[in-house]
Amino acid sequence: MTFFIEVVITGLLGGLMYSTVGLGFVLIFKASGIFNFAQPVMVLFAAMFIAGLNQEFGIPLWQAIPLVALLMIGVAWVIERFVLRPMVNQEPILTFMATIGIFFILLGLAEMFWGSENRTLNVGIPRGPVFIGDILLQSYRVYSSIIGFIVVLLVVLFTQKTKMGRVLRAVADDHQAAQAVGIRLTTVWWVVWSIAGLIAIVAAIIWGGSIGVQPIMVDVAFKAFPVLLLGGLTSIPGVIIAGLIIGAGESVANVYLGPLIGGGIGNWFPYIIAMVFMLYRPQGLFGEKIIERI
């Protein structure tokens, strides 16, 4: 029983990390109605620049991280100016396709600058086992999920408790009406993509420390997909709850079902969970119910 609890808690902690990536998706989707396919690669992009600046140029991490933060804000500006702005009032699917383009461009740029070798990224989050009662956990997981949780909390406060939240919802609901009340779409998008970039940095640092900086980071970040399906594309609380469910589900499946049906089940079992939920709630656990008048 203790072992089972360990498996579940380890999964829950990992799940919070999926939530942080999912949060980037949700923010952008809420503010622009765009599903940003490039979000996972933003994690790798940030990680490669931080590790690269650190190891190739000897820039200490505490300087490299703010530098990359500025870079992500710059990237957000470029994306807004040259990809999103011309797409205003176009079909969402076109913008979605454009974000697939951004995915490969960012990936290419990162590899152009830093090559494809694997690097390490260690900001000094404590490692080693830690006992909570009888339960054995990895302290790295505990600390990183606390960081992830704080990030989520900050974003929640920012979008729910400030005027910005209302502006985001307004922009997401109706571009034209938002402009008519004086909201600058371009600024809002820049802010939101910047925040998504900063969230990607947090994910980059945490995963960089556990799996290293390498292309597989993108695959891990894609774990945010079932989280989004389950939580709903528009709900921040949904992304947290769904992250926990997916994380625990993945972990349990890996340990208990993996030996029976072969490895790798953790990769696709989360989608099964998400899709079973979707049978009953197509909009996700907390997604906004879409009421169309016919």
Binding site: T162, R166, R169, D173, Q176, Q179, G182, I183
Partner: protein, 272 residues
């Protein structure tokens, strides 16, 4: 001025607030507006009428910056401009409603009206992020203004309702409320009474008149209901196929042969 403007002697009506000058607008090969000119004076209710496809909504879209005229210009508060972005137009005091209600569907009535206060906020993003003093105080003041508007429009009991759940007539009212929250100088109303029953229309007409008389807001509206237009308007301009075919007071429009032919005749037939 080249056009035959009738100068009115109404003391409430002041200088020209908005002048549209030789505006042309085309979509591909289709001419939406063809050399249209008119003036809206401060304090008046100005109506743009015309059959479907006459270019009325296009005209409003030019005024608030959704469309940019190909040639010609728009002079607002003495400033000539050919291109303006919608949020700039809003910050200069132009608010509007839309033909097909453009509310923020998932938000409550109050939240929708609060978004109208967007430009009235002075606190910075950072202050907002931490909900510091000024941001908090502002939010409180905005809330008070919006409550007044809600009272004015008699929608108190729907304050917390999600707008997409409200009947059409009420949504139109909320949209008016959101525009009023910006405390505009010029209010553009695109078919404020479309799809309403008689009672709702009467309410809306009363609100429009009150906004104009009590708050002194200049109103430029598009409406199909001729009875309403004739009752409310100080001045009317008539468009047909993108061109101006008449201009004047309701009494003048009623007897203008071009208008009767192009618009009233058709309209009467439709309504029979």
């Amino acid at each position: 001025m080249a056009t035959q403007e009738t100068l009115r002697v109404d003391p409430d009506v002041g200088e020209v607030l908005l002048r549209v000058e030789n505006v042309e607008l085309a979509f591909g090969g289709v001419r939406a507006l063809n050399n249209v000119s008119f003036s809206v004076r401060r304090g008046e209710i100005f109506s743009i009428i015309g059959p479907n496809g006459a270019g009325k909504s296009s005209m409003l879209n030019c005024i608030n910056g959704f469309y940019h005229p190909k040639t010609g210009s728009i002079i607002y508060k003495g400033n000539r401009r050919s291109r303006i972005r919608p949020h700039r137009a809003a910050s200069q005091g132009i608010a509007r409603t839309f033909q097909n209600i453009a509310l923020f569907k998932g938000m409550s009535v109050l939240a929708n009206i609060m978004t109208g206060r967007h430009l009235k906020a002075e606190s910075t993003l950072v202050e907002n992020a931490f909900f510091l003093g000024r941001a908090r105080r502002e939010e409180f003041d905005h809330r008070k203004t919006c409550e007044h508007i809600i009272q004015f429009l008699e929608i108190q009991q729907y304050r917390k309702s999600i707008v997409s759940t409200l009947p059409y007539g009420l949504q139109k009212r909320v949209e008016l409320g959101r525009a009023l929250a910006a405390e505009p100088e010029l209010l553009l109303l695109d078919e404020p009474m479309a799809g309403m029953n008689l009672e709702e229309k009467q309410d809306m007409a009363r609100f429009i008149l009150d906004v104009n008389r009590q708050k002194g807001v200049t109103i430029c509206l598009i409406e199909h209901d001729m009875g309403v237009v004739m009752d409310l308007s100080d001045q009317i301009v008539v468009l047909d196929h993108g061109g101006k075919i008449g201009e004047g007071t309701p009494d003048e429009i009623r007897i203008n042969p071009h208008v009767v032919e192009a618009y009233l005749g058709v309209k009467q037939g439709e309504e029979a």
